[in-house]
Symmetry: C2
Subunit: 160 residues, 2 copies
DNA sequence: GAAGGTAATAGTAATCATTTTCAATTACAT
DNA sequence: ATGTAATTGAAAATGATTACTATTACCTTC
């Protein structure tokens, strides 16, 4: 089992990222990144707030929202909508802690399955599409989102 | 120029769809489908309500929401989230009034561009992925969603 | 063709995630 | 150490969507 480094104590690679943008690397920002780094799940803003709050009760929900927005703009975090009325957040794959993946969403129970089968093929096609669309529509593509909706095994059998 | 048939006067093919589900084909439902059929844009619930309201002021916003939910469940309408906090609705491609397409979303101005370049290739890959994921995760895929985020030509040049 | 029963509707009020406001605090360059 | 703009937290505001309730439209059965 790989030993987990205590990332948030040492000078973090994120810190440089903040400096580059001219942002301060404050405690709330550190803690929020730490929480995102530690749980690979698809956390809502409130989920994150609750975890952050355990580590650092002084950090408020507003700050969580504000920080997440910042991180999304910086490209460190990806924001998703799975159709349940609340946004979800994950560290971006470019942070290389996380492998590139997409999502299966059960429209019945809300379960989310990450998959990375075919991601290579998907990414190849996406790259090709991006290039063509950039040319045709003069559109500068920064990001993409692929998701499948349907019924997970449990809900699928339940409905029969 | 193809002559537009006056679809909502004649017995509409939708009507049968409703009967099949055991739902009534009421005036609000007709009008909402008509509005969706006439404007190929990406309308929010309120956009739809305003258009519906011009044709039939008695129809309320609640009914619009309820009907859209019904239509989405029936598969006649697709629901999208473009990240601006309100859902958007379009007639589904399966209604064959609309060609299958995906979306480019400008994260700066919110402009939406429909594209159907590469859709054939996308659909082929998607079909392959669906089959594999269905097997591997016992997941019954009903639908998919592909979108690209970035900057449209105007916003891209503005930022330089 | 009328009565009865259920589905569908409108309007209002409530909900709930997310933003805004604003005064107080803090990071960090000097 | 200090000044200053960036950052923060609490409370209030916002805005899309949903719940509730009384009413109405439609279909069936007689």
């Amino acid at each position: 089992m790989p030993r987990r480094r205590c990332r948030w104590r040492s000078e973090k690679w994120w810190q440089g990222e903040f400096r580059g943008y001219g942002y301060r690397f404050t405690i709330p920002r550190q803690i929020i990144l730490q929480v995102l780094d530690e749980s690979k799940e698809h956390l809502s803003a409130e989920d994150i707030y609750l975890k952050v709050h355990q580590l650092y009760p002084a950090i408020g929900l507003t700050t969580v929202y504000r920080t997440l927005e910042l991180l999304v703009n910086m490209g460190l975090v990806s924001k998703f909508d799975f159709g349940d009325g609340r946004a979800r957040f994950e560290l971006s794959p470019k942070t290389d802690q996380v492998s590139h993946h997409h999502h299966l969403i059960c429209t019945n129970c809300g379960r989310i399955i990450d998959y990375n089968d075919f991601v290579k093929e998907e990414l190849e096609l996406i790259k090709k599409i991006e290039k063509e669309l950039a040319r045709k529509y003069s559109f500068e593509i920064k990001n993409h989102n692929i998701q499948f909706y349907g019924l997970c095994d449990k809900c699928s059998t339940l409905k029969k």
